[in-house]
């Protein structure tokens, strides 16, 4: 067993003792709210993991099932008055169980798929072929269905100067990668991010060298891969730092999942990386420094579904709301359960279709009642998931939009000469 694995297990077990069993996390957990079975609650899972790690129980089928049903949204952490870091506990379970849990939870094609999908060419192929091939997870189809027409390759490796007549406010590195299915599909977001940032006076560097942030591996307990990817990405940052001297921010375009993983790098590698504070979401950055330019009206009724990791780990959700509330004409209503996971992460709907359905239903009903024009999503995985949901539940008129895209739209509608044609 690797040292990292041992450390994870030890820390996780320690963390279980911090749980005082108060239950405050129960109603924040999407799976508990779906089944009302305490074995599907954070408190229940912690109890099970504790029993597992102390050798009181064997990893039975039912134990694996309940652990595997966790969406790893980490909402429970924000509710916990004792500050239990649940993710440490579930990671410990993965570490302890090794392949056993992933074998249980992830069908073979998903596991193989992960291997395949690190290759940019294969991703491109898969995206175009996925609707016709059998055995492709719904998750993948979601990306294919929501794929934008802009080409990621066209911006990779380029540096975008602040738009003309703008005071320069700093230099940022944008994290995107073509070794990830998400970033190859949702390219419109990448373009919008570049427009918005340059319009706000930032020089935007878009490296070609980044690879997957590592989050999917992490949650499957494949720490070695995750560590390797983290190292690689940090090297990329360092390389650019050396080349350009100062880098003010590392911007993750609306992807709570990636951002959260970046924030874990220090812990994962057990070193100081020195740039943790610089990792921000686009709107989080703009909330901090203030907006330039003319915000044009966007006449829409929108609802929000927060990205779990953007909210529970990066804690950027308030900033996002603050910025978009400035857009004239925008009416923000719901979702009432915006802060509770929609069940998108980790191919959840593929693995647990029934539970995913239960989790999503109240949200669908609310959207129908509100008749929202658009739903704001803050993570690429969320959007892939919702693309399928919109289709499966017949919410045909609901537009899915990233906060940055919304801001982009507002700039497009405003008096901002030159904005539209920048890239």
């Amino acid at each position: 067993m690797s040292d990292y694995r041992k450390l994870v297990i030890e820390e996780g077990l320690n963390e279980t003792y911090k749980c005082v069993h108060c239950g405050f996390c129960l109603p924040t957990c999407p799976t508990y709210r779906a089944t009302w079975d305490e074995a599907d609650s954070p408190r229940g899972r912690i109890y099970l993991v504790k029993a597992l790690l102390t050798g009181r129980v064997k990893p039975t089928e039912s134990l694996l099932e309940h652990l595997d049903r966790c969406v790893i949204c980490r909402r429970c952490e924000t509710a916990c008055p004792s500050g239990v870091v649940y993710s440490k506990i579930i990671e410990a379970a993965y570490a302890y169980l090794g392949d056993e849990l992933t074998k249980y939870g992830y069908p073979w094609y998903v596991r193989i798929g992960f291997k395949l999908l690190e290759n940019p060419i294969v991703i491109k192929l898969a995206l175009s072929a996925s609707s016709s091939l059998p055995g492709i997870p719904e998750h993948m189809r979601g990306f294919a269905r929501s794929r934008d027409k802009e080409r990621l390759d066209d911006v990779l490796g380029r540096v975008f100067k602040p738009q003309p007549n703008r005071p320069t406010r700093g230099r940022v590195i944008l994290f995107v990668t073509n070794s990830c299915v998400a970033w190859q599909s949702h390219t419109h977001l990448v373009y919008a991010t570049i427009r918005v940032l340059t319009w706000n006076g930032f020089e935007v560097i878009v490296p070609r060298e980044f690879r997957c942030c590592g989050a999917p591996y992490m949650h499957m307990g494949r720490f070695n891969e995750a560590i390797e990817l983290a190292r690689h990405n940090i090297d990329v940052i360092n390389m650019y730092m050396n080349r350009y001297g100062d880098i003010d921010y590392i911007v993750i375009p609306d992807s709570g999942g990636c951002q959260a993983q970046w924030l874990e790098y220090e812990k994962l590698l057990n070193t100081k990386v020195g740039f943790k504070q610089k990792v921000v979401n686009t709107l989080q950055l703009l909330d901090k420094v203030g907006l330039f330019g003319d915000l044009g009206p966007v006449k829409m009724r929108v609802s929000i579904q927060h990205s779990c990791h953007l909210m529970n780990v990066a804690k950027a959700h308030d900033a996002v709301i603050r910025v978009i509330s400035k857009i004239p004409g925008l009416e923000i209503r719901g979702l009432e359960t915006a802060d509770i996971c929609c069940g998108a992460g980790m191919m959840y709907p593929d693995r647990h279709p029934d539970l995913a359905d239960k989790i999503i239903r109240p949200k669908i009903e609310e959207l129908r009642k509100l008749r929202s024009d658009a739903l704001i999503l803050e993570s690429v995985t969320c959007k892939a998931h919702w693309t399928n949901i919109v289709r499966n539940y017949g919410l045909d008129n609901l537009r899915l939009i990233y906060p940055t895209e919304l801001l982009d739209l507002s700039y497009l509608n405003g008096d901002n000469p030159g904005y539209a044609n920048y890239i």
């Binding site: 003792y17 005082v20 239950g23 405050f24 009302w36 916990c80 008055p81 004792s82 500050g83 239990v84």
Partner: protein, 469 residues
Amino acid sequence: MVLSREIINKLISIVGEDNIITDDVELMVYEADGSLVYTAKPDVVVFPRSTEEVAKIVKVAWENRIPIVGRGSGTSLSGGALPIEGGIVISLARMNRILELDIENETATVEAGVINLWVSDALAKLNYQYPIDLGYYFPADPGSQRVSTIGGNISHNAGGVKCFKYGVTVNNVRGLKVVLPNGEIRFFGGKVIESPGYDVIGIISGSEGTMAIVTEAVLRIVSNYESVKTILAAFNSIEDAGLAVSRIISSGIRPVALEFMDRIAVNAIEAGPWGGGLPTDAEAILLIDVEGSEPGAVAEANRIVDILKSSGAYMVKLAKDRAEANRWWSARKQAFGAMGFVGPNYITGDGTIPRKKLPEALYRIREIGNKYGFRIANVFHAGDGNLHPLILYDERRPGEREKALQAEDEILRMCVEIGGTITGEHGVGYHKRHLISLLYTDYELDVMKRIKSVFDPLGIMNPGKIFPR
């Protein structure tokens, strides 16, 4: 107790495969409640979805003499939700619909599994539709209101921070639908302030699930005031803080809430993620809410500020807006849970004492803490004398748990000695049943047992609770 396959099958035929737990590992999750001091594993957990299903389940238990334990969110701090003798745990968690919000008659009708705070949340949404009104809420607000269920609140007769003014749970229940142990469904009360006959609602409330399973309740809801003012005060001495409390209450003002926390409690909260900017250097702090019209609340708040200052508070602050007040209050409401930072385990004491005995009680609690070598944080519902000494220990150290229990025992005996009681809101449950005879004679306890028998002649309802063996 081991249940036969036949009985399990009967239960399955009532609730269906999806609403029953028989797997050993899954059952383990149901062996603990909010207290985590003791555990007891059920033989089966069922999740009925209607009163009728509850009735059928209970009937099976009745016919086979199987213990029944109701369960809401399992946050009981007295071991109330533990199936001490095994048997069937009936989880009400899937019966969680709000059936009716009746503003005209100022009631809300809900199923037992509804989470306390949902009632007020649902009412808040209504206000949106009736902007002329101030809006309504459910005033019985235990610290656990974000998670505990109405059924659990009723069974423990839970208190809250607002109960000095609005009463505890039983004062806010108008009607009750229950399933008796023989499977009969009964309704008591209505949407009315009283009804003829003995107060059966009053006797079932607080009976800790030893008489009947609550399946629905009609709750009293109350309307908001135009304005709420929150005041925070810090003291260098516990005596001064106690005196301030007495003076405020004597002044004729009826604060909605009046909470006291000592230094250890404040420091634990502030160390956690829910810190609210409470002063960590004070020996005691008070958190006070008053409500009324805008001019009325301001006038009351000013009066209180004056009293606090003249009673020796070294810092008095009026919340500048609701956001600040909410930060303070959510810090307070997280108090128990935050002990995980410093404990990590804790036993929540729950005595009530005459308010004027607070300094003495705290002094003696500190002595007991010293004697056993525990740190003890104190959270006190100052308006009503309900004291929560939180005994911090570490379950990983052998023998600590037992020692902590002994310390709690001693503290509760002390509460009785100075004229108080062993539980103000968490219930006798399993933990404190050996202490009930400090308060009642055998004759009196016998009357209680016979009352239980009126409802539960076979003794299958939550056995092993309240009464000493």
